[in-house]
């Protein structure tokens, strides 16, 4: 790690640097924007929320009185009469991970003050997120059509539907919130609010491109959570 300077303050590398930052006055995370630090800590808290959900799911799945449904059958799509397990989920995952990539690029172009590129990439991220939610709606309606309900299903343990709808629902809710913000930010970037430091509608704080990075952190987190849900729900 090379030595960095932030506002005339030399950042030392390694453990010593960390100790000296912690022991110093004013800020602990040198040069880190307040909003960014806030998002990290919020995500830590949110990690605990999802951990509680997933641990409850593991406990619940481990102690049901009826067998758990065979997930590779339940989650398969029929392509030309042949069941392809996890087809939809694979596409969903691909779309979501791709949107993480466009988000990262948007952050880069934002800091380069490349307004147009940044705007288009955020829009692409938003569309990716929306596609994901759309496919989730399709998956939900397919399962509901097949008789899966939160209180029971024809394939096995009732808890399957309970946990599935609750956890994917909670994750889908996170994605939806993210999509809403992505659309708002698309507008703000194209309207040039971050270049002119226009004050926010509610918070009355000056706009800055760092906000895109903050939203990006949230978006990557939502992706990461999906990876865990994917592993625990669809692969187990």
């Amino acid at each position: 790690m090379s030595e960095q300077k932030i506002d005339g303050f030399e950042l030392r590398p390694g453990f010593k640097g960390m100790a000296s930052d912690t022991g110093s006055d004013q800020t602990m995370f040198k040069g880190v924007h307040w909003g960014k630090a806030m998002m990290w800590i919020f995500l830590l808290s949110d990690t605990f929320v999802f951990s509680c959900f997933l641990i409850s799911y593991m406990k619940g799945r481990g102690s049901t009185i009826v067998d758990w449904p065979n997930t590779s059958e339940v989650f398969s799509l029929y392509v030309g009469g042949v069941p392809v397990p996890l087809l939809l989920i694979a596409i969903m995952t691909f779309v979501l991970i791709t949107s993480s990539g466009t988000m990262a690029l948007a952050v880069k172009y934002g800091y380069e003050k490349n307004r147009k590129m940044c705007g288009w990439l955020i829009l692409a991220t938003a569309v990716g997120g929306l596609t994901f939610v759309g496919m989730q709606v399709f998956e939900w309606s397919k399962l509901i059509h097949e008789g899966v309900r939160p209180w029971g299903n024809p394939f096995g343990a009732a808890q399957f539907g309970s946990f599935f709808f609750m956890i994917t629902g909670f994750h889908g809710f996170h994605v939806s919130i993210g999509v809403i913000f992505l659309f708002i930010y698309t507008y703000k970037v194209f309207a040039g609010h971050y270049d002119s430091k226009k004050r926010g509608w509610f918070t009355k704080m000056k706009g800055d491109y760092v906000e895109i990075e903050i939203l990006g952190l949230y978006w990557h987190f939502v992706d990461l959570v999906w990876v865990f849900i994917f592993a625990f729900f669809y692969l187990w």
Partner: protein, 612 residues
């Protein structure tokens, strides 16, 4: 601090210490403080009455709003406890009360006092008011989110209170809300009541998360120049650690509330096993009630420390100021707070010894529970050593602090009893447990709150509360609280179970009638005594004598604002620059018996200040 201390040396040591934590190269100027890293905060000033007093973004106003809302819920909780005591002591006078009412009062009293009163008061009230002032910030870092946090809390309280007025009344499942009985017919309030409780808790968690992010980032990223973490008042350390705990523990509550809501509304079976009711199998099956207990107590035990740690921090500051001595073992106190916070995540199942879990599990949790007594005892010793040879002022604030130490030790020792599986099992669900947790997390933090109110009222309102009324308030509360809870330990030992509406004619119950009457009378008196404080505040606001700036001669930054009470932005034109910890009291060689945190080393070059 020996008498032979070399003045010259202490001066040397101090200046090098100040520089060590900062930029690297030694600056010859002993008053040097690193230049500002963060730009001046962009504050939004209120333009109307509504923006200034209702949807206000000033942390101080939000703190007072939190305080008043929490006190309102606290008074509701107090009235519920009176009603319970009326039934237990004088059932013939409580003819209007059915067993269902009693269970509802128990439940609501517990939930209100723990979550909506103590947590909101310490973190929302004191946290909002004191954090920006004590670390030398203009305001919380996200004032708008902070405002939302309060209003979310307000809505949570409104939803909770609404449950008193819905058909079936509030939930009567006990404050732990254990399934399956919580949402089954037959439990009072198993319809709308429990639903409103779960919604209210979820709203509380969301609101608290918004506030908690503010507290943490303000402390980590918005301190003033010279304010290192190890120069923060212990109040800030206590509130900070409690906030970290809350950010990690409340998720478990949120998740369990969501799952139980689904169990209730959608007939899922997360927590519901197969249940036979009047020979009929209910829709439920295959869920795990124990899972709820784990989730609940993973929140519930850190919650105890969310309440206790701010109290520890605040009481340390109050003792130091009013004994005119530096806090003994500041660093030890900080590490004890952090250590207790960390350990509190590994003790939750000591609430579940009788749940039927594996005995080895109980062994593990008994061990961790007893380990947590070590940092806690260190804190108690340090408070006593701070008092030792101090220039103690026996005023109202100090009385509350002394009351706290005694009460906390008392409740802590019964905690050691209950932490052991073999002692806990026979004492489970008896009045011994009730006495224990009321002492340790009810009365003890309450004493700190009272002391803090008497201490900081001159700052908030600019007027001094009456000492005479304050002392009456203290002595009635202190002696009364012991009259309530000491006999309860005995009731627990003879096996009186808690949460029972009536003891009927069971043989050992007849012998407790007199004691129950005594406890009830004491509870009525103690409850009524709290209104002395309300009266004192109203009287003081009307006719009280004006407080001078910094009436207690304290060192921390909140007393060095540009105006009293502090205005929006706290510190006028320039933010204060900090050169020392807030505990330089009675320093040999100093002009006054206190050296404010803003005093530069060169101004007190001939004194024997501690290295900070």
């Amino acid at each position: 601090m020996s008498d032979e201390y070399d003045n010259n040396k202490s001066y040397q040591a101090q200046s090098s210490e100040v520089l060590d934590g900062s930029a690297g190269s030694i600056n010859p100027d002993m008053d040097y403080v690193r230049p500002a890293e963060i730009p001046e905060q962009d504050l939004y000033h209120a333009h109307s009455f509504i923006e200034k007093w209702i949807f206000c973004q000033d942390a101080k106003v939000i703190g007072v709003q939190y305080f008043l809302t929490a006190v309102f819920t606290g008074i509701v909780g107090l009235i519920l406890s009176w009603l319970m005591r009326l039934q237990l002591g004088f059932p013939e006078l409580a003819g209007f009360m059915t067993a269902e009412h009693y269970y509802q009062f128990v439940t609501m009293h517990g939930m209100i006092m723990v979550v909506y009163f103590l947590t909101a008061l310490f973190l929302g009230g004191f946290g909002n008011y004191l954090i920006p002032l004590m670390v030398g910030a203009r305001d919380m870092v996200f004032p708008y989110v902070n405002m939302l946090s309060f209003w979310m809390f307000f809505v949570a309280v409104a939803v909770l209170m609404a449950s008193f007025f819905v058909p079936g009344g509030p939930t009567g499942a006990g404050w732990t809300l254990y399934p399956p009985q919580t949402i089954l017919e037959g439990t009072p309030g198993s319809g709308t009541g429990i639903l409103l409780m779960l919604i209210s808790l979820s709203l509380f968690v969301i609101g608290f998360t918004m506030g908690g992010l503010n507290y943490m980032i303000t402390i980590l990223q918005a301190r003033t120049r010279g304010m290192t973490l190890m120069r923060m008042p212990l109040t800030v350390w206590g509130i900070f650690t409690a906030t970290v705990l809350a950010m990690l523990a409340f998720p478990a509550l949120l998740v369990s509330a969501i799952m139980m809501t689904l169990d209730k509304v959608l007939q899922t079976s997360f927590f519901m096993p197969t249940i036979l009711k009047a020979g009929e199998v209910l829709e439920y099956g295959g869920g795990s009630p124990i899972l709820f207990q784990h989730l609940f107590w993973f929140f519930g035990h850190p919650e105890v420390y969310i309440v206790a740690l701010p109290a520890f921090g605040i009481v340390s500051d109050l003792i130091s100021v009013h004994a005119r001595k530096n806090i003994f073992g500041y660093r030890m106190m900080v590490w004890a707070i952090v250590g207790i916070g960390g350990l509190s995540f590994f003790v939750w199942a000591h609430h579940m010894y009788v749940s039927g879990m594996n005995p080895w599990f109980g062994f593990f949790f008994a061990t961790t529970t007893l380990i947590i007594a070590v940092p806690t005892a260190m804190k108690v010793y340090n408070w006593i050593l701070t008092l030792w040879r101090g220039n103690i002022r026996i005023n109202t604030v100090m009385l509350w602090c002394l009351g706290f130490i005694v009460t906390f030790v008392n409740g802590g020792i019964t905690g050691i009893f209950l932490g052991n599986v073999s002692v806990d099992v026979p004492l489970s669900d008896t009045y011994f447990v009730v006495a224990h947790f009321h002492m340790v997390m009810g009365i003890a933090p309450l004493m700190v709150i009272m002391g803090a109110v008497y201490h900081w009222f001159p700052l908030v309102a600019g007027k001094m509360l009456s000492e005479t009324l304050g002392k009456w308030h203290f002595w009635i509360t202190f002696l009364g609280a012991y009259s309530i809870y000491f006999p309860m330990h005995y009731l627990g030992f003879i096996g009186v179970p808690r949460r029972y509406f009536e003891m009927y004619d069971s043989p050992y119950m007849t012998s407790t009638v007199g004691m129950n009457e005594f406890i009830s009378v004491a509870a009525f008196i103690v409850g009524a005594a709290q209104f002395i404080l309300v009266f004192n505040i109203i009287k003081t606001l009307k006719t009280g004598k004006k407080a001078e700036q910094n009436p207690w001669k304290a060192n921390s930054l909140e007393w060095y604002t540009s105006t009293v009470p502090p205005e929006h932005g706290n510190f006028g034109e320039r933010l204060p620059v900090v050169h020392r910890w807030p505990y330089d009291f009675s320093v040999p060689g100093a002009k006054d018996d206190f050296i404010p945190q803003t005093t530069a080393p060169s101004e007190v070059a001939n004194t024997e200040v501690e290295k900070t």
